[in-house]
């Protein structure tokens, strides 16, 4: 009893008129690919009725106008690397793939910005900037495969947020196709602005419910010339968690500060078939990246952090290498999937000073509900990834147990002043929890914004809230 109409041959032929028949597909084999993103649990999967590949913003806009005319839902999709089911066509209809918008329009080395279409891979932007001695600071762990449009839609975070903020902080301008099918450029290349609502910021993290991002202009920064990656290994988790605050208080801003618990280290070592230090000695890792523009500066920072590590009781302070330590951290999610194909990737965020409260609570919940977990965290910003592994728990029991586990975990998170998601988004997976834990008035305002912009609820319905 969907309020949406089915996709008709008439609509297909109108889509073909706009895009050319090459770029409109109803091939069942193809539709199969677009029923999910990174989500492996079939209970979240939904088949689209048609998949389309527009080549520019005008085509996207024309499609959206058509969808409004036929009252058919449109689910925009980047690289499909999302972990919250944000690109799943919950109500069928059209999946709109942005792969063809893959051009970098301009890189301005003097004014320090890059303008790129939504389908450009984030790593391409990073590499192009790097070639010019510049840095694009956004760095989600999936940067090799994800696209910049998706980064904007989810306000992707990543490892460098402690120093540079999240995608939101990199955005100057977003070009969007509105839910009604207009093309509008929001934001500006201004350091200061007090001229009406910051609508570009409203679009960031809106998960494609308020508009389809087709092009973005992002800030670039000078690329640090010197860096040092430290791996501090602790056998006591409390000592490990006391480190970040000491570093910040010493006046040092690391580029990233990552944490891995012992189960995560074991899981990654198993998955990558590599030896990681202290795996069998109950070690936990804090990885700290320090950067600067000359060797002395970095050396000085390193000496201070090395001393702080020893002071708070690190068992060893090593150089974190790319081939093992960082590779393990980057493969945290893949490793969990190898342990248990079905797992739930938590993306909770708490105030930095509350991390240790949460870490104490986790084993308690784990025992109570009998759920195995692995944990890695961006401890510089309080964003904690807990993978709840299904392992051999039967399906029926799993969904119920996970529900109970969530209820208690999220209740605790909100009591600490935290939120459900730090960087993955709510998508289609966390709607229930969103409605349960969000302040009703706040939720009401969000819904009002949505219905003002998208009265027919055409754009990415079934996401964030119902």
């Amino acid at each position: 009893m969907s309020k949406y109409n089915a996709v008709t041959p008439e609509l297909i032929s109108e889509l073909e008129n706009i895009l050319g028949s090459r770029y409109v597909s109803t091939d069942p084999d193809k539709l199969e690919v677009y029923k999910t993103d990174e989500e492996a649990n079939p209970k979240y999967h939904h088949l689209p009725e048609v998949v389309i590949f527009p080549g520019n913003a005008e085509e996207v806009a024309a499609v959206i106008r058509l969808a409004n005319k036929y009252i058919v839902p449109v689910t925009p999709r980047g690289a499909g690397t999302g972990l919250a089911g944000g690109a799943i066509p919950v109500f069928g209809g059209i999946v709109l793939v942005l792969d063809r918008l893959d051009k970098i329009i301009e890189i301005n080395e003097d004014s320090l910005y890059v303008t790129a279409q939504a389908g450009v891979r984030t790593s391409v932007i990073q590499e192009e900037a790097k070639k010019r001695g510049l840095l694009y600071a956004g760095d989600p762990c999936s940067s090799e495969s994800c696209q910049i449009g998706g980064n904007v839609a989810t306000n992707a975070g990543g490892n460098r947020a402690i120093k540079y903020g999240t995608t939101r902080d990199q955005v100057y301008i977003v070009e969007v196709v509105t839910p009604q099918g207009d093309i509008v450029s929001l934001g500006s290349r201004l350091a200061k602005k007090s001229t009406g609502y910051a609508l570009e910021q409203l679009l960031v993290g809106a998960e494609g419910t308020l508009g389809i991002v087709t092009q973005v202009t992002l800030k670039l920064k000078p690329l640090a010339t010197h860096s040092m990656d430290l791996l501090a290994i602790f056998t006591d988790i409390d000592k490990a968690l006391s480190l970040p605050n000491k570093i910040v208080k010493a006046g040092i801003t690391p580029t990233s500060m990552e944490f891995m618990d012992n189960k995560a280290i074991q899981s990654c070592a198993r998955y990558l078939k590599i030896d990681l230090p202290y795996t069998d000695k109950k070690g936990v890792y804090v990885i700290v990246t320090l950067e600067g523009f000359n060797e002395d500066d970095v050396d000085q920072q390193t000496a201070i952090v090395d001393e702080l590590c020893t002071e708070v009781g690190a068992a060893e302070v090593l150089v974190a290498d790319e081939e093992r330590v960082w590779k393990a951290r980057r493969n945290f999610a893949e490793a969990a999937r190898a342990d248990s194909l079905v797992y739930y990737a938590e993306d909770i965020v708490v105030p930095v000073d509350k991390i240790s409260d949460l870490m104490k609570k986790l084993p308690e919940l784990e025992n109570k509900y009998g759920i195995a977990t692995t944990t890695a965290a961006h401890i510089g910003d309080g964003n904690i990834h807990v993978n709840a592994l299904k392992m051999n728990i039967p399906d029926e029991v799993w969904n119920d147990t996970l529900g109970e586990f969530h209820k208690e975990l999220y209740g605790f998170i909100y009591s600490l002043g935290g939120r459900l998601s730090g960087e993955h988004g709510i998508g289609s997976k966390k709607i229930k929890e969103m409605e349960l834990f969000t302040n009703p008035l706040e939720l009401k305002i969000m819904k009002a914004v949505k219905s003002a912009l998208d009265p027919q609820n055409i754009l990415n319905p079934g996401k964030i809230f119902n």
């Binding site: 690919v33 590599i274 893949e334 999937r337």
Partner: protein, 401 residues
Amino acid sequence: MSVTIQQEKCIGCGTCTTACPFGAIEANEGKAAINAVNCTACGACVRSCPEEAIVQKDANNVQREKVDAGMYKGVWVYLEQFEGNLRRVGLELLAPGRNLADELGEELAAVIIGHNVESLASKAIASGADRVYLVDDKEYATYNNDNYTLALTQMINEHKPNVLLLGATNDGRELGPRIASKMGTGLCADCTNLGIDPETKLVAWTRPAFGGNIMATIFCPDQRPQMGTVRGKVFKPAEPDETRTGEIVRACPEVSRTAIRTKLIEILKIGDNACNIEEAEIIVGCGRGIGKRENLKLAEELAQALGGVVGASRPIVDSEWISSLQQVGQTGKTVSPKIYIACGISGAIQHLAGMSSADIIIAINKDPDAPIFKIADYGIVGDVLEFLPILTDEVRKLKAN
């Protein structure tokens, strides 16, 4: 050094910097500067310089001891045996060895060292050798690098071959350098092409350098024998001709026991069920485009349906998703199957070096500009994850009929 930049003529245009295949020229205060250690004196920069500011000094003006090349005649191929069986690569090498010998107007000889290996000599003759030097003695029953090096060196000193080819096996890559070092001669590793330079009558050894990014042709002008190793499957063996005749020369090199410093205790064999991709007729090669480790099973299923095996490019092996025994390419195995299906392989030159001699190459890749399409016989632009299950499905249907 033999290449110098005349600073007063250099205008710092940077042409030579990009022309240098070895990255040996850098800019220094607005002028080009040669990084002496990387420089191979190949002369590419000399030709590139618009100002004629780079000069190549003739290295031959420098005195060095030369051998009397005229004394050295004949092309030798070392045929490695293990437990009385010839390794295939040796027989393969008789084919290019034959060509070199014919072009030089010299004899092709095979060298076999072992115990109770006389029967192998006739195989060498059938595959093209005019003569076989046979060392057949219980002292040589198993490979020992001291024993074999000294025996071969004695034979070389006695018979003075012009050229010596070895298979690039683990033993060949141990023996070759030891002999070359002892003889003070050059050795060219992992050659992919052998020929005779018409002008100098030298062997032109061609090998990939920098992971196959460029090819280099190398000469060994003043020392003998001219030596090279070649990997398996680079050349195809000639059809054996049982009617060919040749001479078998028994050699009895004398190696003092005190010169033998390593002793074989035992050989630990590992099961030979580890898939041997060098022998496979059909290989489903997987690259980065496969996305993640779990997706490899899609390739395994296709390989199974086709009766082939799975191979992989280096990034997949480096991620340890698959055993390095299955790596195809410059640092892995060289294969030449009937069909090679490249799945999500962009076609880095290092990978192409290992598989471009396949009879038919099929490439599936998302990126229409991927270099793999340049060498593929059949190309499909698309997502491998979408194609693989359907391809497997259709192959199964085809086989069922």
